[in-house]
Symmetry: C2
Subunit: 349 residues, 2 copies
């Protein structure tokens, strides 16, 4: 088989605020022939996720920054074209942190979920069962965002039946699942989203009990109306002034899951706000950060549960797909403008 | 017995910032003769505590505000002068939320620890065992501050042996106990206090592993030097910029106990700061507010443990005593200037 051309998106420069046309650049080179222990892949689906903004920043965090000139990191679903790795056959569908490239050649590190790898490195590959659902779900409901929703809500948020669970970016990849899972657990669910269309979808198609368009002029009044009994669990994907507002409505012993802060992702300097500590003290409330990789060992359990709910029709998901490898930066930017409606993916033609 | 004169400190006006000479005023009236179910008391010791600043503020909180013209709330140790309540005899020493008055006549509600009461109301009275330690300790190490340190550290902070525990206001009534208890649990203890004398006391007399004077010009450098392995548990009595700084040094899965925020107590408007959420997310850390009344049922267990450590010489405490009922407002203000060194008390002559 002639070797295909590997196209890659590299980090060209670190953005100060919102990423722009200069942030990434395309590069191409012949794909490397697989050596012993390696596979050559063909990328089918690529994921863009809010966490990626953090990787563009060269500051200490829970994962290293992407280096300038390096392939951008990201989750990918791919088909095995050639394999010299035990347990992988041509035609297998795999998911892993393969980065923004269409024909990676990588050393298989293991078959567990996702330690990151980009060019020429070792990477963990998870085999995807194409009979379970569209293989693209390995990047969404049956992948990292689904696991984030499931373990973040149940293990950090710990909602009890009858409690009010509020979730921000509620029409997003994680938020829509958080709300539906909370409903399945017997909670009253309030979704906060960025457009009327998203709010209508949450209420009418996903059965959320109440919704708030976060652009309303009086957020406090909207929160009071949507959460007449206060907020017991707030699953926060947004941060910023919306978090400040929800804090004014929390109940005794509330739990605030800090999962994301997309409202603050592109700020050049941190936003200033009143400290949350008075609310936490008066309400004996808890605010806790989560990173899904801490539950990596339990992904099979989480995937089995979400797949069962999908099969029984109790859990729905929505994908927002751009087509073509070259659309990746554009797809990424949709996360920050709020244009994406559901899990943002890029499908390679 | 002729009825004594009851002197009381009333709330005269709500302070906008630091309380001042106009905040409280003295009133006197003959003590009321006890009716059925009531006791007439003679106040021996009064406690001033940071939480009292919150009670001067007429905003919703975990406890109601003191009304204008009402007796200021507070914990008191008193002797029973006359009793028409079952189980109380003249000469008994009791502790309760009796408020700032020297001869209260109160209906005994129960013998558990402290639901609040001021003038003519019902109050829970706890009998104090004068053989255990000075009866003044019922307002300190064997009272609310001691219980706050013990349950707040062990139940909210949950330190493990070998971890680094940092505590602010470390020479205060709660902080000095937190640090010593953490040492008894096998932790490395770093105290943050407001003067060289306090720091020397913590290091030399209480055995803290490291101390930081919070007025050092470079708090980050001081924290890095004092906590070379980072901070696993931060027991915060201070809030403000010190909290912001400690957040920059927390470890993975750190626990931040929000117990007090005396640095912010007298601000007319909330101080603005970067949100703590990025630190909490990256470090998967937890920030949790606590109010000691949530552990009221377990006070006997906590008191027994601290009394045992005092008897064995493993736990030391320090009282800072002003003499004379008229010194109460002055004693209260010492909490905010940091002048108090140990548990601030007022002894009635």
């Amino acid at each position: 088989m002639p070797l295909p051309i590997n196209r890659r998106w590299l980090l060209a420069q670190r953005p100060a605020g919102l990423p722009d046309d200069g942030t990434f650049r395309l590069a191409e080179s012949p794909a490397a022939p697989p050596e012993e222990g390696q596979v050559l892949l063909r990328t089918l689906w690529l994921s863009v996720d809010p966490y990626m903004r953090g990787r563009l920043r060269d500051v200490p965090s829970y994962a290293p920054a992407v280096g300038l000139g390096e392939t951008m990191v990201g989750g990918v679903v791919a088909e095995v074209l050639e394999s010299r790795a035990v347990g992988f056959q041509p035609g297998d569908i795999v998911e892993g942190a393969l980065g923004w490239q269409i024909h990676p050649t990588l050393t298989v590190l293991g078959t567990g979920p996702g330690s990151a790898g980009a060019e020429g490195q070792e990477v963990a590959l998870r085999k995807v069962d194409p009979t379970l659902a569209s293989v693209s779900t390995a990047l969404g409901v049956l992948g990292m965002p689904g696991m984030t929703a499931y373990f973040g809500l149940t293990e950090v948020g710990q909602p009890a039946a009858g409690e009010t669970v509020a979730v921000s970016a509620a029409a997003g990849a994680v938020g829509a699942l958080v709300g539906q899972i909370a409903r399945l657990l017997g909670c009253r669910v309030v979704g906060i989203a960025g457009s009327e269309a998203k709010c209508a979808y949450l209420r009418e198609e996903l059965g959320f009990d109440a919704v708030i368009d976060h652009s309303v002029p009086d957020l406090d009044a909207a929160l009071a109306a949507a959460c007449p009994d206060g907020v017991d669990v707030y699953f926060d994907n947004v941060g910023g002034p919306l978090l400040d507002a929800v804090l004014r409505h929390i109940n005794l012993r509330a739990r605030i899951v800090i999962c994301g802060m997309i409202a603050e992702a592109n700020l050049a300097a941190p936003d200033l706000a009143p400290r949350p500590t008075r609310h936490l003290l008066v309400k004996r409330a808890r605010m806790q950060g989560m990173i899904i990789y801490d539950w990596q060992d339990r992904f099979p359990q989480g995937i089995a549960q979400l797949a069962a709910w999908i099969r029984s029709g109790q859990l729905r998901y929505r994908e927002d797909v751009l087509t073509g490898f070259e659309t990746l930066p554009q797809a990424f930017l949709r996360l920050f403008s709020g244009e994406n409606f559901g899990k943002q993916l890029v499908k390679v033609v």
